[in-house]
Structure formats: C-alpha cells, structure tokens
C-alpha cells in the first residue's frame, strides 16, 4: 500500500522528503496510516478498504450464484444461503459503496475547492478507522454460534428476533458505520461551506462537490433513523421490549416504515455522488461545458427532497390503505422527472462536443446507458399494481443491481480512471482499462438482464432452490456473475500497474478537464493549496 502514497510514487527510494522541500512528508511505515490526518492518505485508505469489502461481498455473491446455477441444493444449506444474501447486501451497501464515495470525497473535495485539507482532520482519521472494527464484526459474525444474521439486509422484524448473536454483531457494526458516516458528513459539509477558495461561490463549485454536499445532509438526516430502528430491534431481542412484537402491543410493520424512511434516501445517498462523478467526466471528454449547471443543482436537490416522501413504495404488499398506495405511487413517479433532467443534461453536454473515449468516458457513457435501464424498471415498479405483482421477485433484484452496480459502481470505476493520474502521477494502462470496461458491461448485462424475465415469471428472491422452469436463466446469470467477478481482477491489475509505474502523467492529463485539481502537480503533493488559489 505504501506505493500509493503521493510522496513515494515518484521516488522509489522511499525518501518522501526528497523532492518536495516545501512541506513535511508523512512518517514512514504502518504508523503513517494509523495516525494520518491527511485527506489524501485517508482517501486512499477509504478506497482500498472499500475495494477489499467489494471483493468480500463479491465472493459471497459468487457463492450464491454457484448454488443457484442449477435447481436443487448442492453447495450450501438454506440457512447459510440466507446468511450469504444478507451479508452480501450489508457488506456491499455499508462496506463497499458508501465508504468508496467517502474516499472520493476525501481525495477530491479539498483539491476541487482549493482547500488545504478537510475541516476536521483528526475526526477524519477517526471516521475511517471506525470502519475497521465494524467490518471485523461483520466478518467475525460468520464464525459465531448460529452464524451471521440471515434476516436479510433489511433485517425485518420479527425474523430478526429469531437470529443468533450474529444479528447483534451486525447491529453493532451498523451503529459504528453509521457514526462514521455522520462524522464524515459533518466534515464534508463544514469543508465545503467554509473552506472554498476565494471567489468560488456555491454556484461555481464543481458538480461533484454539490452532489456530496446534498448527500451529506441526507446522511445526517437518516443514519440516526437507522440507528433507532436497529436499537429497537436490539432491545426487543434482549431487554423484553415489544416495539415490533405484536404479542406485546408492537407492530412489525412499524419497523419497515422506520427502516425505509432511512432506506429510500439511502438509495440516493448511493447514487448522487455517482451523478457528481459523471457530471465531471462527461464535459471533460466532450470538451464542452456541462449543459445545464444550475438545473443539475436543482435536480439533485429535488431528488434529495422527494426521496424523503416515497419510502412506503417498498411496502405496497404490507396492506396499506388505497390512499397511501396512491400517494406513494404518485410521489415515486415524480422522482423520475429530476432524474430524467440529469440524463438529458448529460446527453446535451455530449451533443456537438468533440468527444474522445478514454476509459473514464466509456464508463461514464456505460453508466448513463445501463443506469437508465434501471431507472425505467424503477418507474415500472413505482406503479402500485405492477409492484404488487413483482415485489420480492427477481425483477426487483435486477432493478436494484442495474442502479447500484451499473449506477454507483460504474461511476466509481469512471472516477478512479479519471483521477488515477492525479493520485499516482502515472497514466493507467488504457488497454487494461478498456478491457475492464467491455468485460464489465457485457457480463453485467449477462448476469442481471435475465433476472427481469425470472421476476416477471414469478421467481421470488432470497430462495436457495427454485422450480426447474427457472433453470436456464439462472444458469446464464451464474455464468455472467462469475465472468463479471473475474473481470474485476483486471481493474485490480490496472490500478496496481498504475500505482507502480507507467508514463508520467501531466498536471492536466485530460485535454478538456476543468477544475482546480488539475492546477496542482501529478501526483498531487502531500500538501496542496496551503495558500488558497484565487477563483475568477
């Protein structure tokens, strides 16, 4: 890992002080990473951590797909299967996607607004290192009596009350990760509001910073709600309360309301920073400014606000009154409008540009194309009667993987390739990058497209065995999944190769890129913008 540190990257003799005489380099060795308060170091830690979690969650997913390759029970038993689906969800959402975006925020926000570091540098260290014990609890839970929680990543009551201590470990892990997210958000908001370079008004700020500003407010609003829901689960389990236990006067459906009041904004927490990354990349490679900057800001805000009043569309089959179903159907449909505005803006940005198609651009275009399919299936699922038909089937599994994998993950890949030259000082291998893109986009669709058909035909999610008529599409999905998983090793190879060496990257390696991060050398020195730049 030490190879990634900016001070070392251009000097293999590991003398971080050698070239940059205008600042103090980091201490060497392991303690550097434990004690660091540097936004670039912490960003790197976040990114490697989330990649490790991505591979862990991916292994769980491949075990699931191996079991589902053909009908019958072959590889895992049903209780372990439920642990796999549950932990795959928790690890990917809380361990991979969310920390990865915080990693991007750490690296890029100070560089993009011309700040020397994050506002609360020590809290920044703490909010990263909290993740390590949290992730350890999740991994350890597989080895405690009864195994990891098998109640689904949503941990619905009262099933969650039947679980062993793996459930408690998951609850504690989420508490810790929630605390980490809240600290990260406070840090991002404070940094953006107080530390922008002179002249950079809010409406001149890069779109990535805007999306993270809004995301941070959402995190602060909903993480405590999740903490409340799982704390009530904890006291129901151990202290004789009956929040969600009907026999004691509680209501199991109340858990779902509280969970999804967190859970739906959470969906947008995982996609808004992706919108931000794509909004940086499309103009850079189209060599043309973002078409509607102001309308993008308003669209992002509208999505954030609407996301708080649509949660019960996850619960149409619980049996709410018709008035409730109608309200949540109409509100959910409305979210399509600002989301559409974003897609139209990106395409209008590309229109009459002068485009080139390096890997970041390929992933950004792949994002728009495949994410939009997930958007359309979301629109179809928003229609209450159709949702009742498709709720808890593979159609839903297909839908949210189109949004989270082709959405969040592809945008992150785009972002990594886009900013790797700045982070490492080297250009990545364009062939590996393009190979990674084409493998990912093809195998992603091979995996998840057939799941639409399975869901329409009525195959429920979270089952370890299925009717033999579902076998063909399941086999195709499993093959796609293994190829998709292996394709991610190309990504690992491309990143390691770029960290270790490669053609020297210019300060601004992309012809059309704009922004303060391209005014500092590549790799970015350990300390940047000690004197704030002036923005016109």
């Amino acid at each position: 890992m030490s190879a990634v540190l900016p001070g070392h990257a251009h000097d293999d003799h590991a003398d971080a002080h050698g070239h940059d005489d205008h600042h103090h380099g980091p201490p060497a060795g392991f303690m550097r990473w434990v004690t660091t308060t540097n936004h670039k170091d912490i960003g790197t830690l976040y990114l490697w951590f989330s990649f490790a979690m991505f591979l862990t969650g991916g292994m769980l997913a491949l075990t699931i797909r191996a079991e589902l390759f053909k009908p019958g029970l072959q590889i895992v038993n049903p209780e372990f299967f439920n642990q796999l689906t549950t932990m795959h969800g928790i690890i990917m959402v809380f361990g991979a996607i969310m920390p990865a975006f915080v990693g991007f925020a750490n690296w890029q926000i100070p560089l993009m607004i011309g700040a020397p570091d994050m506002a609360f540098a020590r809290m920044n260290n703490w909010s990263f290192w909290l993740l390590v014990p949290a992730a350890s609890l999740l991994i350890i839970s597989f080895f405690v009596p009864g195994g990891a929680t098998a109640a689904g990543w949503t941990m619905y009551a009262p099933l969650s009350s039947q679980m062993g201590i793996g459930q408690d470990l998951a609850i504690f892990a989420l508490h810790i990760m929630g605390a980490s997210s809240i600290m990260g958000s406070i840090n991002i908001i404070t940094t953006i509001l107080n530390m922008r370079a002179p002249g950079m008004t809010l409406m001149k700020m890069p779109m990535f910073c805007w999306t993270w500003l809004i995301t941070s407010y959402m995190l602060i609003a909903v993480m405590p709600v999740l903490a409340g829901a799982i704390t009530m689960t904890l006291t129901d389990r151990h202290f004789g309360t009956s929040f969600f236990n009907a026999a004691g006067g509680g209501d199991p459906v109340m858990y779902q309301h509280i969970f999804w009041f967190f859970g739906h904004p959470e969906v947008y927490i995982m996609i808004l920073p992706a919108f931000g990354i794509v909004s940086q990349i499309i103009p850079a490679f189209a060599r043309k400014p973002l078409f509607g900057y102001a309308s993008m800001v308003y669209a992002t805000s509208s999505i954030a606000i609407l996301s708080f009043i649509v949660w019960a569309h996850h619960m149409f089959t619980t049996g709410m009154p018709a008035a409730g179903q109608l309200f949540f159907m109409y509100a959910t449909m409305l979210i399509a409008v600002p989301t559409g505005v974003k897609v139209f803006n990106w395409i209008a940005t590309m229109w009459k540009g002068s485009m080139t198609f390096e890997t970041p651009m390929l992933f950004a275009i792949g994002f728009i194309f495949v994410f939009t399919m997930g958007g359309f299936t979301g629109l179809i699922l928003a229609v209450t009667p159709i949702d009742i038909q498709l709720q808890d089937t593979y159609y839903v599994v297909a839908h949210f993987h189109y949004v989270l994998v082709a959405g969040s993950l592809f945008a992150m890949f785009a972002g990594v390739y886009y900013w790797l030259p700045k982070w490492t000082g080297h250009m990545y291998d364009e062939f590996l990058g393009k190979l990674h893109f084409w493998c990912s986009v093809v195998f992603f669709n091979l995996t998840f497209f057939p799941m639409h058909f399975l869901g329409l035909a009525g195959m429920p999610r979270r089952i370890p065995d299925y009717a033999a008529q579902f076998a063909d599409f399941n086999a195709v999905a499993s093959i796609g999944a293994f190829c998709f998983g292996l394709s991610q090793l190309i990504f690992l190879a491309a990143v390691i190769k770029c960290v270790k060496g490669g053609p020297k990257a210019a300060d601004k390696p992309w012809e059309g890129a704009e922004g303060l991060e391209w005014t500092v050398p590549s790799p970015a020195p350990y300390h940047t913008f000690e004197t704030p730049p002036q923005v016109k």
Binding site: T318, L326, K352, S354, T372, Q391, R462, A468, D472
Partner: protein, 404 residues
C-alpha cells in the same frame, strides 16, 4: 421449447461449455401448468380481471419506456458517432437553454402523471375486498400454510398445506418432477367466477401469500390480519410461493390454488368435510408401540426432518441431533413439553399448535426408538399428550428449560 433449443445451440457455439451443460440439465423441464414456463419472458398468463389489468399496465409502461429509451439513446449514440474528435468535430460552446430545460421537465412530468393515472383505477379495485362469496384465512407458519374456510360454502374446513416435493428430489437423488418446488399435499380449493377474499396473518414471522396468475400478493403479518381478493375466470390449478423472507425454509412453502366449477366445488366440500370427520381420532385410543412409531415416522419426515434430518443427526449447532439426544432419551415429560411448547431461545418451534395429540404422541414415540435411540420409556399415548396440554405454565417452563 424452440427458443430453448436455439439458446442451447447458441451457448454451445459460443463455446460456453458450462452454459450448454446447464441448459442441458434442465432440458426436461416441461412447462408447469398454472406456474412458470421454461424460458418464460413475460408475466404469467393472467386469469383474473386484476391480473389482466396488471398485465396491460405492464405492457403499456414497457412500450412507453422503450420508446423514450430508443429516442433518448438514439440521440446519444448519434452524438457518439458524429461528434467525435477523431472525426475532426469541433466542440460547440452552447449551454443552458431555459426553453429546452422547461420542456424536458414538463413533458416527462405529464407522462409519469399519466402513467400513474392509468393505474389508479386498478389500485382502488385491488383494495375492494367487500361482498366476497367465500372468505378463507391463510396463516403463514415456519414453514407451511394453514387455511381456514371462515365464511361461505365450505365454512369450517381447515387444513395445513405442506410442500410435497420429496427431499430426495431437492437433494438431487431422484429425478425432478414437472411441478418441482411448487406442489403441495393439500391444495386450496375454490369455486370459479366467485369473489374469494383471502385474509392473511402469520404465526411467527412475516410471510407473503402470492399467486402470480391472479395478480395477488399480500404479506401475512403476525398479530395482524390483512386481506386481498381474487375472482378466477378459469378453472384449473394455479401456483405461487411464499414471497417474504421468513427464515431457513422460506423457499420451501409453496401455495397451490385449485379452481373448480361450482358443482365440483360443492362435491369437494362434502368430501373434505367427510374426510375431516373421519380423521377425528379418538384421543383415548390405546396404541401399540410399532403402530404409533410407524405413524410417527411420517409425521417426523413432514415436520421435523428439514432441521433434524431423516437420520436424526440434525445440523448443529442450530438444529441439534435427536439421535443420542439427552432430551429424547431422558424423562418423557421433558420431551413432551418441548415438543408441545418449543424450547425458548432456540429455533425449536411449538409443534403443539399445529399437530394433533395423536401426531405428537406418534412422533415422540418414533424418536425414542429410532436410529440408535433406545429410551427406557419408549411409548406415550395420545391421552397423555392431551393431559400434557393442560399443564400449568410454571411446570412447562421448568420442563422446557435447557438441560444443563
């Protein structure tokens, strides 16, 4: 099937040996009557008005979405084709246009409100459970369904419905039948063209009752009663399964509804009532050990083997072995109490809620003499179980406590 053959050929041509083998493995899966077809691409064929409306709404949405998708991405791919640097295209500098931005906000808004508008009628119709001809309560248990006919013709009929696919097929030791995983021992039987109201509730955790061909899916929530309805236009068998994660055997609790003509239904009601009456066993009958143990083996396979396994070895630590178990070989009262009331803090459920006195006596008798077990007292009579149901709470609590 033609498509399937084609796909298999394609898979082979692409050199996807594994894919071809997998498709080959399912080559004998004929279409399931009232369930999914092989390589089915769309919703199941609807047989109620509601399911018809859902089908049409879905088709309509799909067409509108596809048209928008094609229009938007035609623009994008044209741009990718034409506006590229290597073709010498110079970047324009335009940005922001209030007219365009208002248009692409308002037009989608009108489209989505229109889509929701079309669905509104169906939402309201789906909620209207009034004036039902027949009301059936469906109760979700871990892991089976219980049905009680509470109002209308057949009132008073009550039974449990278990997965009837043999374990051997699930474990790949026997050839799979065409209705694999979606077949039950007792089907729900209803008359055709009658409004059937289904009340759902659950005994333990949340389950969901669904039949895709009816367009019905309703969560079954412990402690609460919810309802939904359907009116099948056709006779026949229609299949679904539990749709809400409910624990270990969530994938193994299917739902099968058999829709009959009025005359057939009336006959079924009469037969079922006779059958239930004949099953009313005398709880005071005195059984011999071999007879009761033989019956117990069946009860065990249907209710216990999923966790404790046919060979009694269990799946420790969550589901302990019964072969050599201290409880099974210990005092009779302890085992009977655990069997009837479950063991707190463990996955052992209270079987007394769903099994008769005779079945409890049978399964206890069976386990005490099965495998390597040779309990000192191996036989318990149904009358003892009846007495045990009346034990007071303090006694039960003491008896079901975990042995130290």
């Amino acid at each position: 099937m033609a498509v399937s053959t084609h796909l298999r050929k394609l898979a082979a041509q692409l050199g996807m040996a594994a894919g071809a083998a997998a498709c080959g493995a399912s080559a004998y899966a004929a279409d399931m009557v009232g369930g999914p077809a092989e390589l089915q691409l769309n919703l199941q064929r609807p047989v109620t008005d509601i399911a018809d409306q859902i089908f049409d709404l879905h088709t309509g949405m799909l067409i509108v979405c596809l048209l928008i998708f094609i229009a938007v991405f035609a623009a994008m791919f044209y741009s990718i084709f034409a506006h590229r640097k290597d073709k010498g295209h110079k970047a324009a500098t335009f940005h922001e246009s209030t007219t365009v931005e208002i248009a692409w906000t308002l037009i989608p808004m009108i489209i989505v409100i229109g889509m929701a508008g079309f669905a509104t009628r169906t939402v309201i119709a789906m909620k209207d459970t009034s004036n039902a001809d027949l009301t059936i309560k469906a109760t979700g248990y871990q892991w089976k369904w219980g049905y009680d006919y509470i109002k209308g013709e057949g009132e008073g009929i009550s039974f449990y419905s278990n997965l009837s696919t043999p374990r051997a097929q699930i474990e790949g030791k026997a050839e799979r039948g065409v209705n694999y995983m979606l077949e039950v021992d007792n089907e729900v039987v209803v008359p055709v063209n009658k409004k059937i109201r289904i009340l759902t509730t659950a005994d333990d955790v949340i389950h969901a009752w669904m039949i895709p061909a009816f367009g019905v899916k309703q969560d079954a929530i412990p402690g609460f009663v919810r309802d939904t309805w359907f009116k099948s236009k056709e006779t026949g068998i229609f299949r679904g399964q539990c749709a809400e994660l409910c624990g270990k055997e969530h994938g193994f609790m299917p739902i099968v509804v058999h829709v009959m003509s009025d005359a057939d239904y009336t006959k079924w009601v009469a037969d079922k009532k006779k059958e239930i009456a004949s099953k009313q066993e005398d709880p005071n009958k005195v059984w011999t050990q071999p007879d009761l143990a033989a019956r117990g083996k069946t009860v065990y396979e249907n209710n216990c083997a999923a966790c404790h396994k046919s060979d009694g070895k269990g799946t420790p630590p969550a589901f302990p072995p019964l072969d050599g178990s201290k409880t099974v070989l210990g005092p009779m009262d302890n085992q009977v109490a655990v069997e009837l009331n479950g063991r707190p803090g463990t996955a052992m459920a209270a079987m007394g809620k769903t099994l008769s006195d005779t079945d409890i006596a049978a399964v206890v008798t069976y386990t005490r003499g099965a495998w390597s077990n040779k309990a000192a007292v191996a036989l318990v009579q149904p009358s003892d179980i009846k007495a045990a149901r009346a034990w007071d709470a303090a006694k039960v609590t003491a008896l079901v406590a975990k042995p130290q």
